[in-house]
């Protein structure tokens, strides 16, 4: 059974008196361990779809089933707990809590999960090491570069042990070198940790690293293709 199933997802909202159809009749299955990209031009509905998958936004109609749970039927508090234990998030920017160090940021979700202090410290250090930040884990976000901050976000997302990581344009604010490095880390960890990744992008560098590309246009899926990776990780 698929890890994620979307059935007939639509999202409409009013902009003034005009109804905007952000998503129309989206049907999608994502299997465990996939490294999939949602692509399309700005306004195509990528972020809205990611928000609905992540339970951050509710669809106007349709069903979102993740790990055998219909999340469209969950209360707000249940959704909050669901996100905490099942999902990891990487946003485009402002991913980290400014008053916490890199290590504390990675630990934060595990603190909320109620994990033991030793376990979370161990896991946080491990994942920061995996993303190559073991030497600067005590720094606060303001002392980290954009690429380093995104890597901390990847470490945080994975350290909490989610079934699915959702990344909304994770490389949008990064230069080419940092974007490539981040994608390679995400891809490698996706395979090593057997964690499913869905990320939105309109960056061609990101697209060519995805194993599956789902293209959206005007709120509809216009293509869904599986790709072979051409590039080996650079780190």
């Amino acid at each position: 059974m698929a890890l994620l199933t979307l059935q007939g997802i639509s999202k409409h909202y009013l902009q003034g008196e005009l109804q905007v159809n952000a998503l129309s009749d989206i049907n999608l299955n994502v299997e465990e361990g996939e490294f999939a990209a949602l692509v399309g031009p700005s306004g195509s509905g990528k972020t809205t779809l990611l928000n609905i998958i992540g339970g951050l936004d509710a669809p106007t109609q349709g069903l979102t089933q993740l790990n055998n749970t219909d999340i469209t039927g969950l209360s707000e508090a249940e959704l909050s707990d669901f996100r905490l234990f099942q999902l990891g998030f990487i946003f485009q920017a402002y991913n980290l809590v400014p008053v916490l160090s890199a290590l504390e940021n990675v630990e934060l979700v595990m603190v909320l999960q109620g994990r033991h202090a030793n376990e979370r410290r161990e896991r946080a250090e491990h994942y920061l090491q995996l993303v190559g930040l073991q030497d600067i884990m005590q720094r606060r976000p303001s002392a980290l570069s954009g690429g380093q901050q995104q890597r901390v976000a990847v470490a945080r997302a994975l350290a909490a042990g989610p079934r699915l990581v959702l990344a909304d344009e994770p490389t949008a604010n990064l230069d080419s070198e940092n974007a490539t490095a981040l994608l390679d880390i995400m891809h490698r960890l996706s395979h090593e940790e057997k964690t499913t990744f869905i990320f939105s992008t309109h960056d061609p560098r990101v697209m060519e690293r995805a194993e599956r590309i789902i293209t959206l246009h005007d709120g509809k899926i216009v293509s869904d293709e599986c790709h072979q990776r051409h590039h080996e990780p650079t780190i």
């Binding site: 749970t69 707990d81 234990f85 402002y94 400014p98 916490l100 603190v111 909320l112 109620g114």
Partner: protein, 425 residues
């Protein structure tokens, strides 16, 4: 889905809140400074208020009838010369047996007409045992002419300069004191002026005639009292510890157990003074309310700005799984820490200011050239600020609760943030 729920330990909550409070160090310091200065001023003003009130109360008690007064039951409602305690000896013995921490003065109060060849004025004759009375200790230093009544001087009187002017008398002059008797007759005694005082309190200077107890007892004898039983109008009890009034009041009442006498504390004896202090206190509370408004705006401004600036961060936290309740707690905890800091700094500033003025005093004499007489008593011209523990608790609670309440709105606003809208900003 399992039953696992999000969990935010207190240590993490406090750590996040503490760091958030100091995120904008300058803003926090400015807020704390304004609250602390306001709080310090409130403490100072209330300290001055309490200091001046207590000064008035102490003087009123000394000039009046002590912390506790024992007098005929209906005397307070309708004073009359024929209302007296006929058996002063028995009552005095009962009081002595209590070993009161303080002193007890026997007094006689009579309404008389003071006359000379030049004029006649209504007066209040107060007879007491010379050299053993707080009132003497207050007024003797204020003598402007003559001397105090010697022990055993049964004809000597001391009057205020206002009365001396009206009667046109000086030290050595004779004054006839006439008192009405029950049944319509009158009786008179001759007194001789030994001293003239000036207290700057019109109620004392114009009306008070002080004499030895025995002189006043002549009038009670005219009412039928037996001198051998030491008749008196009242006993004034002066306590070493003014905070023990309730204790001694209860004890005296049970020891006397006599329906014909009333045991009253100074507040029952001087209700007008109590009313004056309540009204004056209300003025201080208006000032305190203004300070509180400043505190509320300071906290709301700081915390609300901090919330609005962090909308996206709150969205991130909510997306990661932090519940609304935890977010509300976090922001409320930030207000709580600001409150604690404000109260601590406020007390350092306010307490320091109070301590200084409680030791050195503030001289108000230049502001009150016509004297400091009020409500039949007077305030010492140099006021030493006073704060009781009740006031400390009261002020701390008021400021603390106010600052906490100020944090409610920003906390609710933060908790209402939805992740998807916050992340879009």
């Amino acid at each position: 889905m399992g039953k696992a729920h999000s969990h935010l330990p207190l240590s993490m909550l406090l750590m996040l809140a503490w760091r958030n409070v100091w995120r904008h160090r300058r803003r926090t310091l400015i807020t704390l400074s304004s609250i602390a200065i306001g709080f310090g001023l409130a403490v100072l003003f209330i300290g001055i208020g309490d200091g001046s009130h207590n000064s008035m109360i102490r003087n009123a008690i000394k000039l009046g009838d002590g912390h506790i007064t024992i007098q005929p039951e209906s005397y307070l409602q309708a004073p009359a010369n024929y209302k007296y305690i006929s058996d002063g000896v028995t009552l005095s013995t009962a009081l002595d047996a209590l070993n009161i921490n303080g002193s007890v003065s026997a007094r006689i109060s009579l309404q008389v007409l003071a006359s000379t060849a030049n004029n006649s004025v209504g007066a209040a004759l107060e007879g007491f045992v010379s050299n053993n009375d707080q009132r003497q200790q207050m007024l003797e230093p204020l003598l402007i002419d003559g001397s105090w009544i010697e022990a055993g001087d049964h004809r000597g009187i001391v009057i205020g300069d206002g009365m001396a002017r009206k009667l046109k008398v000086k030290v050595g002059s004779k004054v006839v004191l006439m008192a009405g008797k029950r049944g319509g007759d009158s009786q008179a005694q001759l007194g001789r002026v030994r001293g003239i005082f000036d207290s700057h309190v019109d109620e004392l200077d114009d009306f008070l005639v002080l004499s030895d107890l025995q002189f006043a007892q002549y009038f009670l004898a005219g009412e039928g009292a037996i001198i051998a039983q030491a008749p008196v109008t009242r006993f004034a009890v002066f306590l070493d510890d003014p905070d023990s009034i309730t204790y001694w009041n209860t004890l005296i009442k049970s020891a006397i157990d006599n329906d014909s006498v009333a045991v009253l504390d100074w507040q029952e004896m001087m209700p007008q003074l109590v009313q004056f202090i309540i009204i004056d206190d209300a003025g201080n509370y208006v000032f305190l309310i203004l300070i509180l408004i400043m505190v509320v705006f300071g906290i709301v401004n700081t915390v609300l700005m901090s919330v609005l600036e962090r909308t996206r961060e709150f969205g991130l936290l909510r997306a990661l799984g932090l519940g609304r309740r935890h977010l509300l707690l976090l922001v409320f905890c930030e207000s709580l820490l600001l409150s604690v800091l404000a109260v601590v700094i406020g007390w350092i500033v306010g307490g320091g200011t109070h301590w200084w003025f409680s030791q050195h005093g503030i001289d108000f004499s230049a502001l009150m050239p016509d004297g400091t007489a009020l409500m039949g008593t007077f305030m010492d011209p140099v006021i030493f600020t006073e704060l009781s523990w009740d006031r400390v608790t009261q002020l701390t609670t008021i400021i603390f609760v106010t600052t906490l309440l100020s944090g409610i709105y920003p906390a609710i606003k933060a908790a209402r943030i939805t992740p998807v809208e916050a992340i879009r900003t």
